[in-house]
C-alpha cells in the first residue's frame, strides 16, 4: 500500500552496454526476463544482459490472452505446467507486485462424445499428476458460467467440460513489469530497443552476439528466448529449428459489467473467452494455418470468432469490439516446447511455445537458470530437448495445446 505514495522508478534507466556478460539473453519478454530473474535469485548470477528489440513485453508476452492452466494431455506437459502455475501463484508476493492472478477456474468445453473422450483422458492424466482437473456435466457448468447458453439443440451442444479450478487469467503486462523490476533489482541489465542480428560462434560454441548497430557483445552463454523469431535467431547460430511461425489473433470488447468469471475454451469452435478485471471480453482463436512474421490481423478471424462466441454467449451480440491484434506463435511439430541445449555449445533455446508460452514463463526461467547455474539439465525439461525430434521421442500435445489455451 505504501508503494502508492512512493513514486519510485520500477527499473533504472538503461545502462551503457558492456563488452561482455556471463549470460546474454535475447528477448525481453516473459521468458527472457524470468530467466534473468531466476539466474540472480537462485544462482547468484547477475552479470546478465537482456536484449530486447523493442520495448519489454512487446512480443508474445504482451499479446497473449493471459490464460494460465496446467491441465495438459501428456504427463510430461502436465507436470511442467503445474510447476509453472505453482510458481505463478507465489510470484506476485515474491515480486511485491500484484499480477492480478484470477484463479476462478478454466473450462474446456466438449461438444461431442469424441471431445468428451479427450477430456476424460486429460482429467485422468492430470489427476495422476496431482493436478486439480476433472470432467463435469452441464449442470455444474451452468453453475460456473451462468451467462452461457446451454441449449442441447445447438450445433455444438455443451455436453461436458474439463474443469480445472486453479486455471484462470493473469495480467500479462504486470508479469512483465514485475519480473523486469525483479531483474533490475537483482542486478542484471535490461536493454530495450537493441536488436540482435548475429550470433558469434567459435569452435562450435556461442561466444557472443552482434547488434543491428554493429555493436558486439561477448557472452559466456547465449539464451534465445524470442518465441516467434526463435528460428531466425537460432539460424544465426547455425541451429536449424523445426519451428514454423504463425499468427494468432485476439480481440477485446468495450468494458462490460461482470458476466463471466471463469475461462471458457471451445476447441471445436476454435474460440476461447474470458472477461478481464477491466470488464472487457477477451476472445481469441486458433493460430492461422499459414506461416508468416507479418502481424497483420484478418477480418475473417474477427467474423468467425464473433460467430462462435455468440453461439455460447448470444447476449454479446450487442457488445462492441474495441481492438484486435495479432501475435506470433512458434509452433513445434508436437505442440510441446523445445528447451535447453542445442548442438551449439553455450547456446540455449526456449522455443516451440505456440500458444502456450506465457503459461510457462516462470518455470522456463527457473529451469533454464538452473541449467546455466548448475550445468545440468533439470528433469522437468529433459523430455523437451531439441534432440527428441532426431530420436522420434515426441511429447504430443496436439489436441490439448493446439487450440486449447
Amino acid at each position: 500500500m505504501l508503494d502508492l505514495f512512493r513514486k519510485r522508478r520500477m527499473w533504472r534507466p538503461t545502462a551503457e552496454l558492456k563488452d561482455n556478460y556471463d549470460v546474454v539473453i535475447i528477448g525481453g519478454g516473459s521468458h527472457g526476463l524470468a530467466t534473468a530473474y531466476y539466474l540472480a535469485r537462485d544462482h547468484g548470477i547477475t552479470d546478465v544482459c537482456v536484449l530486447e528489440k523493442a520495448y519489454i513485453g512487446s512480443g508474445a508476452a504482451g499479446r497473449n490472452t493471459t490464460i494460465l492452466r496446467s491441465n495438459y494431455k501428456t504427463s510430461e506437459g502436465a507436470r511442467f505446467y503445474d510447476a509453472s502455475v505453482k510458481l505463478y501463484e507465489g510470484l506476485g508476493a515474491e515480486l511485491n507486485y500484484n499480477l492480478l492472478f484470477s484463479q476462478e477456474g478454466h473450462l474446456t468445453l466438449a461438444h461431442t462424445d469424441r471431445a468428451m473422450f479427450v477430456m476424460v483422458e486429460r482429467a485422468e492424466v492430470n489427476r495422476l499428476a496431482g493436478i486439480d482437473s476433472r470432467v463435469i456435466g452441464p449442470e455444474e457448468i451452468e453453475g460456473l458460467a451462468p451467462a452461457m447458453a446451454m441449449s442441447r439443440d445447438a450445433v455444438h451442444p455443451v455436453m461436458g467440460a474439463l474443469y480445472h479450478p486453479p486455471g484462470g487469467i493473469i495480467r500479462h503486462d504486470a508479469v512483465v513489469w514485475g519480473l523486469a523490476r525483479g531483474v533490475d533489482r537483482g542486478g542484471a541489465e535490461i536493454h530495450p530497443y537493441r536488436e540482435v542480428t548475429g550470433v558469434e560462434r567459435s569452435n562450435g560454441r556461442a561466444t557472443g552476439v552482434t547488434l543491428s548497430d554493429g555493436t558486439r557483445v561477448g557472452a559466456g552463454m547465449v539464451v534465445n528466448a524470442t518465441a516467434g523469431w526463435s528460428s531466425t535467431i537460432a539460424s544465426m547460430a547455425g541451429v536449424e529449428l523445426p519451428i514454423t511461425t504463425h499468427i494468432l489473433q485476439a480481440f477485446v470488447t468495450e468494458p462490460l459489467k461482470p458476466l463471466l468469471d471463469v475461462v471458457i475454451v471451445s476447441s471445436q469452435m476454435h474460440v476461447y473467452i474470458s472477461q478481464t478485471d477491466r470488464g472487457e471480453f477477451l476472445i481469441g482463436a486458433e493460430i492461422e494455418p499459414w506461416t508468416t512474421y507479418r502481424q497483420q490481423g484478418t477480418l475473417n478471424f474477427i467474423q468467425e470468432a464473433s460467430r462462435h462466441t455468440l453461439e455460447l454467449f448470444p447476449q454479446l451480440e450487442r457488445a462492441r469490439i474495441l481492438r484486435s491484434w495479432a501475435g506470433l506463435c512458434d509452433i513445434s511439430p508436437d505442440f510441446s516446447p523445445i528447451l535447453g541445449d542445442t548442438e551449439v555449445e553455450n547456446f540455449l533455446i526456449s522455443t516451440g511455445w505456440g500458444t502456450y508460452g506465457f503459461k510457462a514463463a516462470p518455470i522456463v526461467g527457473k529451469t533454464i537458470a538452473e541449467r546455466i547455474g548448475t550445468g545440468t539439465t533439470p528433469d522437468l525439461i529433459e523430455p523437451f530437448a531439441l534432440e527428441r525430434f532426431y530420436r522420434d521421442r515426441l511429447v504430443s500435445e496436439l489436441g490439448a495445446a493446439a487450440v486449447s489455451h
Binding site: M1, V120, W177, E254, I302, S306, P314
Partner: protein, 961 residues
C-alpha cells in the same frame, strides 16, 4: 424544448414532427432528425454518462461519435454513441456506469476522496497480501469496472445481421468535400465507385458551416454520377484491400482495386483542470449541435483555442445566437488578421497569449479561470482571472485521421509545420485526399479530392489523354496551394493552460496529465509502455481524443522529440462495432443423408456427428446389435467420403499415398488402406476398390472426407501424375447391409449372382438392385457377412425402403452408430481419431501387416515408419476384456505404479459376447495375450486382460462365408 435556437437553414431536424422516447424512465420529447444526444441536451439533460474510473459526470463533447462522453444503452445495446444515434420513437435509453442514478453516483467518492489511492496501476501495488483475500478484492474491482450491462442470460441470438460483399473499381472512405470530389471525378472517368461515410449525411465538416448547401449539391451530383453511397457506414479497418463497413444490420465488405482515404481530421481537446466538465465541448461539437440540431450548446460561451479554428468557431457560435464572452487564444502573435478583424467587428474580445487554467462548476461549467501564458506555454499565476460562462468551446488543433492508412501499411510522419502526424509511404493502390493528407483549406480539399479520384481512375486505365492532361494541371495547382509555409494560425497545436488539478489527457480511461507524469517517472518511458500501464488511448475513443496529447506530454517529460516518441500501432476496428454485425447470420449448415427423413420416421436418435446429422440408434442398441448378429441390419453410411481416382497412373498415385500396394489390386477387388502423414502418423482409413484398370473407388472416414480430398489434391499437384480426382461424397449414398441373412435379402433384389463363389469377401461389383445402379462392396466393418451398397443419392430412398421391406421376413432392423461401434469393436476395427491420435502409426496400431516396406517406390511416411520399425514398437494398441462387466470410461488411463502409461480408447459392453471389451494403448511390454493391465478411471482401479486377436470371429470365417 427551451434550449432550441431559432430555425436555421442547415438544420437536420423537422420541427413539425416530434418523437418521444425515454431516458432513465423519463419521457423525452425530440424532433424528427434529432440524435439522442441532441434531444437530451435540448431537454436540459446535460450529463449523459459517468466516467470509467472516477465516475465524474460527462456531457456532449464532440457530437460526432468520436469520444466516450455520451455512451448510453439503447434498448439493451450498450456503448451506443448518443451524439450520433438518431432518435427513434419509443426507444428506451438508459445511462451506464452510475449507481444509484446518473445525477447521484456513489462511486463519485473515488474521485473526491480516492485520488491519492488510485494512481495509474494502483491495483498492481495493492491487495498483494494476504493472497487469500485477493479473490474478494478482485470481486469488488470487477464490479466497479465495466460500463455496459448485458442480459445475464440469453437463449439465442435475436439480432438478424447480414453480410454484403461488393466489388468496386474505387472505394472512397470519407464523405467530406475531398471524398465526394474524389468519388465524383473517378465516377466521371467511368469507374465503378463506392463511397462510405460514418455520418448519416454526406458533407462532413461542411454540413455545420456556411458551405452546407454546396455540400448537399455535391452529394446530389455524386449520386447522379452513379456512385454508390453507403452512409452512415463506418469503415472498420483495412485488411489487405478488404474494407468492412458497418451499416445498421449489414456488414459491407468492399474490395476495390483502388482506395481513396479521405478520412478527414479529428479536432483535439485542450488540457486544463476540469476539461472534462459537462459544458466543455469541442468547437466543432458546439457548432454541430447548434447548426444541425438547432440546440443551444450554452447561453454564454468562452472559446479556447490554439488555432484559427477557434476564431472561426467564435464567429459561428455568435451568429448562431450564442453569446461569446471571449476568445482565449494561446497564441500571442499568430492568427488570421481577417478573422481577428471580424471578431473585433462582432464585439468579441480576444485574449491573446492566454490559456484556460481551469473550468469550474460542480456538474456543469459555470465559468473558467484564464491566465496569460509565457513563451513556453506556462500560465502566469498573477494574471489569473475568471470569466463566467456555461460553455467552453475548445479547439486544440486537429489530428489527421490516419488510422486506416496506417493499417494499410502507411507510416505516419511528424510534420512540424502543421503540428500533426501526416501519412507517408502510402501503398500505391491508395490515394489520400483532403484533411488527412494535410490539405486543409476547403477549396484545396476539393481539388485534392479531384486529383485523387482522377489518379485512381486513370491508374485503372480509364479516361483519355485529355483527362491525363487535366490531372497534370490540377496536380500542379494543388501543389502550389499546399506548398510553402502552413497558413498562419494553422501551425502549433500545443496544450494551452495548466496541469494543476485534474486535467484529463484521456477521457475514456480517466487518465490525468499527473498520471502520465507519474508513470513516466516510474520508468514507463516509451509510448507503448505508457499506454499499457496507464491505459491511455485504450478506451472506446481509440485514441482519437488522447493519442496526440499523450505523445506531446511524453515528449515534454522525457525530452525526446515527438518524432522519437512515435505513434502506437493502429489496430482495427477503427470504430467500435457490435459482435453481432461481424458474426453475420447465425448460420450453421448441417449435412443430411438422402434418407434422413426415414431415420426420423423410424425413431432414430438423430445427433450431430461432425457436420452431419446421424442416427445414433433407433431406440434399442442391444436389439439392433443382436439383429446384425442373428438376422440382418441396415445402416446408413452415406457420410463416408467417396473419391474416384482414375487415370493411367491412378495405381501409382495410390501406391505413393498409402503404405501398402494398390497397383497390383485386381479389378473388382477391394483392399483396406490406412493413410498417414510425413511422420507416419495415421490420418485416415478406408477401403479402396479397383473398379477397372484405370480407376479406383476410395472411401474415407466421415469426418476425414474433406481433409483426404485436400491431401490427395495437394499431392497430385506436387507429383503431377496423370490422374483425375473426383469427389463423389455428396452425390452418392451408401448403406451397409450386414448380418448372416443379408445374402438372402440381397439375392431377392438383384439379378447378380450373390453366391459366395461368385461374389466373395472383398469383391466389388456393379449391379442393379431393385433397379437402382449400385456399386456393391463386400466388406465387413461390423464383422458379419455384409454388403456396402453405394448408389446415386436421388435413388437412395427407394433402395433403403426396398431393403427394409425385403428384409422384413429376415428380421432386419435399421441400426445406428452406437450398435456399429460395438460391432466394430468386437472385431478390433479401429476408428481413426478414436483409437488413434496424432501420435499413432500403423506399426504400433496393431496393423504392421499393412506397411509394405518391400514396395519399390517411396510412400508418404516411409522414412518415419522405417525409423519406428528400426527402434521397435514402444506402445501398442491392444484389446482387453473385463470379466465382471465393468466398462471403463473411454479416455481412462492405463497405469503402472500409479503413473499413466497408456489409455483406453474404446470400451463397450458386448451383448453378444456378454462381457466388457475395449481397446487401449499400452507399453509394448504389456501387449501380450493374457497380461493383466490396470486401468485408472476417476480413481477406480480396474483390472483387464490383454487380448491381441479380435474378440469376435478372429479367423474371419463369418466374413468369408
Amino acid at each position: 424544448m427551451s434550449e432550441r435556437l431559432p430555425p436555421n437553414p442547415r438544420e437536420r431536424i423537422n420541427r413539425a414532427r416530434t418523437i418521444n422516447f425515454s431516458f432513465d424512465g423519463k419521457d423525452v420529447e425530440a424532433y424528427d432528425g434529432d440524435t439522442i444526444g441532441s434531444a437530451l441536451h435540448a431537454s436540459g439533460q446535460k450529463v449523459l454518462s459517468r466516467s470509467f474510473k472516477y465516475h465524474r459526470p460527462r456531457g456532449l463533447l464532440c457530437c460526432a461519435g468520436q469520444c466516450p462522453n455520451c455512451l448510453v444503452d439503447v434498448d439493451g445495446s450498450p456503448g451506443v454513441r448518443a451524439c450520433t444515434e438518431p432518435v427513434r420513437a419509443g426507444i428506451k435509453v438508459t445511462h451506464m456506469n452510475a449507481k444509484p442514478s446518473l445525477d447521484f453516483d456513489v462511486m463519485r467518492a473515488t474521485d473526491l476522496f480516492g485520488k491519492p489511492f488510485t494512481p495509474p496501476g494502483f491495483y498492481y501495488k495493492t491487495f498483494i497480501r494476504p493472497r487469500r483475500l485477493w479473490p474478494l478484492y478482485e470481486k469488488v474491482l470487477r464490479n466497479a469496472a465495466g460500463l455496459g450491462r448485458l442480459a445475464k442470460r440469453q437463449a439465442d441470438r435475436e439480432w438478424r445481421t447480414e453480410y454484403r460483399r461488393r466489388r468496386a473499381d474505387v472505394l472512397v472512405v470519407g464523405g467530406g468535400v475531398a471524398g465526394m470530389a474524389a468519388a465524383l471525378r473517378a465516377a466521371e472517368l467511368g469507374a465503378d465507385v463506392v463511397l462510405m461515410d460514418d455520418g448519416p449525411e454526406l458533407g462532413g465538416a461542411m454540413l455545420a458551416g456556411q458551405d452546407a448547401d454546396s455540400a448537399k449539391e455535391l452529394a446530389e451530383s455524386i449520386r447522379a454520377a452513379g456512385v454508390e453511397v453507403l452512409a452512415p457506414a463506418a469503415a472498420l479497418g483495412f485488411f489487405d484491400g478488404l474494407v468492412p463497413a458497418w451499416q445498421g444490420n449489414t456488414l459491407h465488405q468492399v474490395r476495390a482495386d483502388r482506395h481513396i482515404a479521405a478520412t478527414g481530421s479529428i479536432e483535439q481537446p485542450l488540457i486544463f483542470d476540469g476539461n472534462d466538465l459537462p459544458g466543455v465541448m469541442l468547437c466543432s461539437g458546439a457548432e454541430r449541435l447548434a447548426s444541425l440540431y438547432g440546440v443551444r450548446p450554452g447561453e454564454t460561451a468562452v472559446v479556447a483555442t490554439t488555432t484559427d479554428r477557434g476564431l472561426e468557431s467564435a464567429l459561428a457560435l455568435q451568429e448562431a445566437g450564442i453569446e461569446v464572452a471571449g476568445v482565449v487564444d494561446a497564441r500571442a502573435g499568430d492568427g488570421s488578421e481577417e478573422l481577428l478583424g471580424a471578431l473585433a467587428a462582432a464585439g468579441i474580445s480576444v485574449h491573446r497569449g492566454t490559456g484556460v487554467v481551469k473550468a469550474f462548476g460542480r456538474k456543469h461549467v459555470r465559468g473558467v479561470v484564464v491566465a496569460d501564458l509565457d513563451d513556453e506555454g506556462r500560465p502566469d499565476p498573477a494574471s489569473k482571472r475568471g470569466i463566467d460562462c456555461d460553455l467552453v468551446a475548445v479547439s486544440g488543433g486537429t489530428m489527421p485521421a490516419t488510422s486506416l492508412l496506417l493499417q494499410a501499411g502507411a507510416k505516419a510522419r511528424w510534420d512540424e509545420a502543421s503540428g500533426s502526424y501526416l501519412p507517408d509511404g502510402v501503398p500505391s493502390d491508395i490515394r489520400v485526399a483532403g484533411a488527412v493528407a494535410g490539405h486543409e483549406p476547403r477549396n484545396c480539399a476539393a481539388k485534392s479530392g479531384a486529383v485523387a479520384g482522377a489518379e485512381a481512375a486513370l491508374s485503372l486505365g480509364l479516361g483519355s489523354e485529355e483527362d491525363r492532361a487535366r490531372l497534370q494541371a490540377d496536380r500542379a495547382s494543388l501543389l502550389r496551394e499546399t506548398e510553402g509555409p502552413a497558413p498562419a494560425g494553422q501551425a502549433r497545436t500545443q496544450d494551452a493552460g495548466s496541469r494543476n488539478g485534474k486535467c484529463f489527457a484521456c477521457l475514456c480511461e480517466d487518465v490525468t496529465t499527473k498520471d502520465i507524469d507519474y508513470a513516466i517517472e516510474e520508468g514507463f518511458d516509451s509510448l507503448e509502455l505508457l499506454k499499457r500501464y496507464t491505459t491511455v488511448t485504450m478506451g472506446p475513443c481509440q485514441g482519437r481524443m488522447c493519442q496526440l496529447a499523450s505523445i506531446r506530454q511524453m515528449s515534454e517529460d522525457t525530452g525526446a522529440s515527438i518524432e522519437e516518441v512515435g505513434l502506437t500501432t493502429a489496430r482495427p476496428p477503427w470504430s467500435t462495432v457490435p459482435m453481432g454485425v461481424l458474426a453475420g447470420r447465425p448460420f450453421e449448415p448441417a449435412k443430411r443423408s438422402a434418407v434422413h427423413g426415414r431415420h426420423r420416421e423410424l425413431g432414430g436418435n438423430v445427433m450431430w456427428a461432425g457436420d452431419w446429422r446421424r442416427a445414433y440408434d433407433y431406440g434399442d442398441v442391444r436389439a439392433e446389435t443382436m439383429a446384425v448378429h442373428e438376422g440382418a441390419g441396415l445402416i446408413d453410411v452415406s457420410t463416408l467420403g467417396k473419391l474416384v481416382v482414375s487415370g493411367p497412373e491412378a495405381g501409382a498415385f495410390l501406391n505413393l499415398l498409402y503404405p501398402n500396394r494398390f497397383d497390383n489390386l485386381k479389378p473388382g477387388r477391394i483392399r483396406y488402406g490406412v493413410l498417414g502423414d510425413d511422420a507416419g502418423r495415421i490420418t485416415d482409413d478406408g477401403t479402396i476398390c479397383r473398379l477397372d484398370e484405370n480407376s479406383f473407388y476410395v472411401t474415407t472416414t466421415s469426418s476425414g472426407a474433406d481433409a483426404v480430398e485436400s491431401w490427395f489434391s495437394w499431392w497430385l499437384a506436387e507429383w503431377k501424375l496423370d490422374v483425375q480426382l473426383t469427389d463423389v461424397s455428396q452425390g452418392l449414398s451408401a448403406f451397409n447391409l450386414a448380418g448372416p441373412r443379408s445374402r438372402e435379402i440381397l439375392s431377392g433384389l438383384t439379378e447378380l449372382d450373390c453366391s459366395n463363389d461368385s461374389f466373395a469377401y472383398l469383391d466389388g461389383k456393379r449391379a442393379n438392385v431393385v433397379g437402382v445402379p449400385c456399386l456393391m462392396l463386400r466388406i465387413g466393418f461390423v464383422g458379419e457377412l455384409g454388403y456396402e451398397l453405394h448408389c446415386p443419392g436421388p435413388l437412395a430412398e427407394h433402395l433403403w425402403d426396398s431393403l427394409l421391406e425385403a428384409g422384413a421376413a429376415h428380421e432386419i432392423r435399421p441400426f445406428g452408430l452406437e450398435p456399429q461401434r460395438i460391432l466394430r469393436l468386437q472385431k478390433m476395427h479401429i476408428l481413426v481419431g478414436q483409437d488413434t491420435d496424432a501420435e499413432s502409426n500403423p506399426l504400433e496400431a496393431a496393423m504392421p501387416w499393412i506397411v509394405k516396406f518391400e514396395k519399390e517406390e517411396d510412400f508418404i511416411g516411409r522414412w518415419a515408419l522405417e525409423a519406428v520399425a528400426e527402434r521397435g514398437a514402444e506402445n501398442k494398441l491392444i484389446g482387453f476384456t473385463i470379466e465382471n462387466g465393468t466398462v471403463p470410461t473411454e479416455g481412462a488411463a492405463v497405469v503402472v505404479d500409479g503413473q499413466p502409461v497408456g489409455l483406453v480408447t474404446s470400451s463397450r459392453f458386448s451383448p453378444k459376447l456378454e462381457r466388457s471389451i475395449g481397446m487401449a494403448w499400452v507399453p509394448a511390454a504389456l501387449a501380450e495375450d493374457g497380461t493383466t493391465i490396470t486401468v485408472s478411471d476417476e480413481g477406480r482401479q480396474i483390472s483387464a486382460a490383454v487380448q491381441t486377436a479380435p474378440f469376435y470371429d478372429p479367423d474371419q470365417e463369418l466374413l468369408r462365408g
